[in-house]
């Protein structure tokens, strides 16, 4: 029910209705971007953003730096374990 899928906004199709096209793993789908636009983030500025798509809405942006840091932590844990076992 709370399923969310990452996708990248590639086009704004209707500024008034806040509609955009999102590329989700090669599949292009129209989504509503009302949840992620405000004065600081107008629709036009959303192109290229990675978002989490849920029931036809882009619910939030994906923070690329935070994702990278999480993955980096996994790398460091693996490296530390490899160091212990050698």
């Amino acid at each position: 029910m709370c399923l969310g899928i990452p996708g990248q906004i590639i086009e704004i199709t209707n500024v008034d209705h806040k509609l955009a096209i999102v590329n989700i793993g090669g599949v292009k789908r129209q989504v509503n971007i009302a949840c992620i636009v405000d004065e600081q983030h107008p629709p036009e500025a959303c192109i290229g953003d990675w978002v989490l798509v849920h029931v036809g809405f882009a619910m939030n942006r994906i923070n690329e730096q935070e994702a990278a840091e999480t993955l980096q932590l996994f790398q460091e844990l693996a490296a530390a374990q490899a160091g212990i076992s050698t």
Binding site: M59, N60, F74
Partner: protein, 392 residues
């Protein structure tokens, strides 16, 4: 797929399992962790996470599956609305096979009701535009994750002056449900894996009461296997260090204060009900959302006559105890016999996020059911077996 595949690497899962095992050795007691969200339950079974964890850890599958907590009476109300001759009733597919007291939406459709499955509430609004001579009703259900999408749909219907559209709101709130669980003396928990996508909307601040008033740690988690394993690892770190804090593993999506735009939409369109009936948990105060009087023209509960009756669950069904984590699915007499995903008696067998359906589909009962923690667990530092994850 970016932001998915990287979080499914088996080698990293094995690394995290080793770290979890080390911490289990330090805790030296059985550990009960509840994953609140049905999405987590589904992932845990899909990827076999329960099997690769040390035996000291028991995962309790919580009530965070909106379909599973839908009481029969509300389903009866939905079916009653759908049976009006001029109504097109739109719903997410999840709700189609949920049993009411006599029938399901799927059976009601077979008997002639115009019931349509939609992917988004906006699709139901489009159906209303395409069918101006019909009343279109959307079955709005879900936690705070889904509520913004229905709120924005009502706002759009109001802006476009679409008068043949309404919603039957069954949105529920996660915080009152967690409080009800924590107040249940039958439930003994060491910590929570918090719901990731609900938190994307509400943030992590609302969980502070769990650590401050109930002295339980909670880690808000993503849904990929590495997310869940890291969250369990973070919970164990808190237990080892004798901390009770709200932590956020899913910080690539979840911000502390949530999504203010989405919250504003929810607060504009919805008001909190005085009480709402949850299957298995009963009436929980201030745990449901109704449509604000300002948008009454879009409230199906005001537009249509509904039975509005409370209906008791089937006596043989133990969904209530399972949702509270008091019983395991296989301890229910009808599990896998009279109650299957094809012929569900209880809601936990309907949704893929329900604990019963997950156990039924992914099986492994022979190994999982044996994982009792009544004896002191045997914790080992030996290398773990390969996790066997696939990224497809």
């Amino acid at each position: 797929m970016k932001y998915v595949d990287e979080f499914r690497e088996p080698e990293k899962a094995e690394t995290l399992c080793c770290e979890i095992t080390k911490l289990c050795n330090q805790v030296e007691k059985p550990i009960k962790i509840m994953e609140v969200c049905g999405g987590h339950t589904h992932s845990i079974f899909k990827y076999g996470i329960e099997e690769i964890l040390p035996q000291a850890i028991e995962l309790i599958h919580g009530p965070g599956c909106p379909v599973c907590v839908m009481p029969k009476g509300r389903l009866d109300d939905a079916i009653a609305i759908s049976q009006n001759h001029n109504v097109i009733f739109a719903t997410f597919g999840d709700a189609m096979r949920v049993p009411g007291s006599k029938t399901t939406l799927l059976q009601a459709r077979a008997q002639g009701a115009d019931i349509r499955m939609v992917y988004s509430p906006l699709d139901s609004l489009q159906i209303a535009k395409d069918n101006p001579d019909k009343q279109v009703v959307f079955f709005a259900l879900g936690f705070e994750t889904t509520a913004p999408s229905t709120a924005f749909t009502i706002l759009q219907a109001a802006a476009e002056k679409i008068h043949n559209f309404s919603m039957f709101s069954n949105h529920v709130l996660v915080i009152p449900a967690l409080k009800a669980l924590l107040d249940n003396p039958d439930l003994q928990l060491d910590g929570f894996v918090g719901p990731g996508h609900v938190s994307m909307v509400i943030g992590t601040d609302p969980y502070e009461f769990i650590s401050q008033q109930y002295n339980k740690p909670i880690v808000v988690s993503g849904f990929e296997p590495l997310d869940i394993l890291q969250s369990i690892w973070m919970l164990l770190q808190q237990l080892v260090e004798n901390r009770c804090e709200v932590e956020n593993q899913y910080n690539r999506i979840v911000q502390k204060s949530g999504n203010t735009v989405a919250l504003q939409a929810i607060n504009k369109v919805f008001a909190v009900r005085d009480s709402f009936d949850w299957r298995g948990l009963g009436d929980i105060p201030y745990s449901g959302l109704k449509i604000q009087p300002e948008y009454a023209q879009f409230d199906a509960e005001l537009k249509f006559t509904i039975p509005n009756l409370k209906v008791a669950d089937h006596k043989a069904c133990k969904c209530g105890e399972i949702l509270k984590g008091v019983l395991k699915p296989w301890e229910c007499k009808v599990f896998g016999t009279a109650c299957t995903p094809e012929t569900p008696i209880g809601t936990c067998m309907v949704s893929s996020e329900g604990a019963c359906a997950a156990y039924y589909k992914y099986g492994r009962l022979s190994t999982i059911a044996k994982r009792t923690i009544t004896q002191k667990p045997k914790i080992t530092q030996e290398p773990l077996p390969a996790c066997g994850f696939s990224s497809d």
